[in-house]
């Protein structure tokens, strides 16, 4: 799970411009979204779900 920010002027995956959101975006889709400036990665941190070791 990464944290992204909607970098462009259009909503991305339902999130408005400027909003930060956590998601698991498929790598190719993430690459394309970053390449065209739709999103940027805010945090690469991978969070583990509660109960997982």
């Amino acid at each position: 799970m990464k944290t992204y920010e909607v970098a462009g002027p259009l909503p991305y995956l339902g999130h408005p411009p400027g909003e930060k959101f956590e998601a698991e975006i498929e790598p190719a889709m993430e690459r394309r979204g970053i390449a065209r400036g739709a999103i940027r990665v805010v945090s690469e941190e991978t969070k583990t779900k509660e109960g997982e070791s």
């Binding site: 002027p9 909503p11 995956l13 889709m29 394309r32 979204g33 390449a35 065209r36 400036g37 999103i39």
Partner: protein, 142 residues
């Protein structure tokens, strides 16, 4: 009274980016080949079974070259021939039982860089072809 839908707020999400406000027409077709399986001993009518399936989504966009607009989103997909997700909502982008979001992996065909005439808007009718079975999402997201 059954619903008689008037299209007002169809949502169009291409590879994550919301292009709703650049789209003005949409047609989704999912059909199967008609394979004739008529044999002796029938009832005098041709018999058909559904064969291979195909699906297409036609969206007419109004072309725009602004940052993250229609061209910025679709052109790279047209060049790369990559598969990507598309989500169409009949009544907005929020999934609900009365607004199932049509979600499918697609590839882009028939991208038109520029079309039109003097004094008119530039339509960009685009055809997406399904590469796998679509799903209908009726559960509101987070």
């Amino acid at each position: 009274m059954p619903e008689k839908l008037i299209l007002r707020d169809v949502s169009v999400n291409v590879d994550g980016t919301d292009l709703t406000q650049s789209a003005r027409a949409c047609t989704i077709d999912t059909s199967a080949d008609e394979v004739e399986v008529t044999t002796f001993g029938g009832n005098g009518y041709h018999e058909f079974e559904p064969g291979l399936k195909a699906g297409s989504i036609e969206v007419e966009f109004l072309q725009g070259f602004d940052a993250l607009g229609v061209h910025a989103t679709l052109w790279p997909l047209s060049v790369s021939n990559e598969e990507f997700p598309i989500i169409i909502g009949p009544k907005g982008a929020t999934a609900a039982t009365d607004n199932p979001l049509f979600t499918a992996p697609v590839k882009l065909f028939a991208y038109r860089f520029l079309q039109g005439e003097v004094g008119a808007a530039s339509p960009n009718p685009v055809t997406f072809r399904l590469t796998d079975a679509p799903t209908l999402d009726e559960v509101p997201g987070p």
